[in-house]
Symmetry: D2
Subunit: 137 residues, 4 copies
């Protein structure tokens, strides 16, 4: 299961060296993940309607080539199947024009009660159902 998101680098995302500040990639990942979520029915709001929040507990990014203002990138977001009560994604960023690899990364999220923030140690029913619909096991 994967999804592609196109993002154009903003002027205010580049630093004095003319390249995109590395912290912005975390937002690119989140934008791409949300995009995936909207298409596949697991956006933040979908979880929230089921009394769940999905805070990020780990993030990793490897930066291969610098990005500049005006560049357009494709973020390929891939759901990584796991039996653990987690939501894992991988990300591949490449230049939309030349296909050059820009960055790779991953994120891991847990399920918590949206009100109490209590950690859900097993997969919540809403997400189990989602996985069944996707024929994941």
């Amino acid at each position: 299961m994967k999804h592609e998101t196109e993002i154009t680098v903003r002027f205010n995302e580049a630093d004095p060296l003319g390249i995109v500040w590395h912290g912005h990639y975390v937002r690119y990942f989140e934008d791409a993940r949300e995009d995936f979520g909207k298409v596949h029915g697991i956006s933040y709001l979908d979880f929230y309607r089921n009394s769940l929040a999905v805070p990020v507990v780990a993030i990793h990014c490897d930066f291969k080539k610098p990005l500049r203002y005006g560049d357009t990138i494709i973020v390929v977001t891939k759901y990584i199947n796991t039996r653990a009560a987690k939501l894992n994604f991988n990300y591949q960023i490449h230049d939309a024009l030349h296909g050059t690899q820009i960055a790779t990364g991953s994120s891991s999220q847990v399920f918590v009660d949206a009100k109490t923030f209590e950690l859900q140690l097993t997969m919540p029913p809403f997400f189990e159902d989602w996985r069944k619909k996707q024929k994941l096991s």
Copy 2:
């Protein structure tokens, strides 16, 4: 009533031209306003403890001289007295080293119920008390 806040410009706040992106000044203003609030007992948390939120309803900024990475600025935050149910501040930013004027600005906030977001048409008791303590009228 005024308060001075020193801020050092971060590398990631400057754009490809090497100068600070104008949107960051809104945060400088908020940081300085919060600093004022902490010293004078009207920080966001002080309002919140009194079931109030103080959303910004207007912001203005005039940019006089560019800021660069590594520059240190002083934001002078001034409470502007008014009988209206508003919280008005003026800001003067100058270079900490040379005193050069960098920017001037202003903000206006209203009082709303922190839960319902209902607009308070008259000054809330907590803020009336604060004004009395400051001998404002």
Copy 3:
């Protein structure tokens, strides 16, 4: 001359009150202005290719109604004609779904040499040409 830009509010743009932090509107304005610029040939890169930068020298925003995560807005960007060596825009933000007015604002930019940052006291030839093409006077 005007242009409409659709923007969907990100989760990470809303604050603990659940509403969009006011500083983000400055970026909405810039995104909308860049969108206008790309369509009409006066984006940051168009200026840059003509050795010009167009730093913002004034910004103003009035906030009418709060925005929440998931809301979609339309920013209507309007070029405001002037004979001065300035680039002035007005912005009207409304809710894409209900048409409710969310905010109004304006920005003013000057023309500077992209290398030396020297202020251009008269309208630069590139921009004069652009105005002629648009039949502005």
Copy 4:
């Protein structure tokens, strides 16, 4: 070699769940790293004066406990010695009040020519000298 940096969480850094958006930790790391750099003579500006830039090529963060608006944290930044032409740091974030562990992370930077962006395959003289002064080998 380590350095401690105190940071107070801003209102605008918390999201609608009331907790700090995970992307901000990347900035906390950078602020702490710059703080380390200023104290130990390897800030961005120190590198720049030696015609070097030090772009981040990898970042990792594990989030243990949520942060809320008003929380004060200590970031402990530790230089990780390596013979490779890299600049590696580890970060430990804990709550300033209770000492609770909030997050851990790491970053890796390379040395490039500040003008050409050419990757320096061996440790640049400026950094070799710095290492000698610190008695690192």
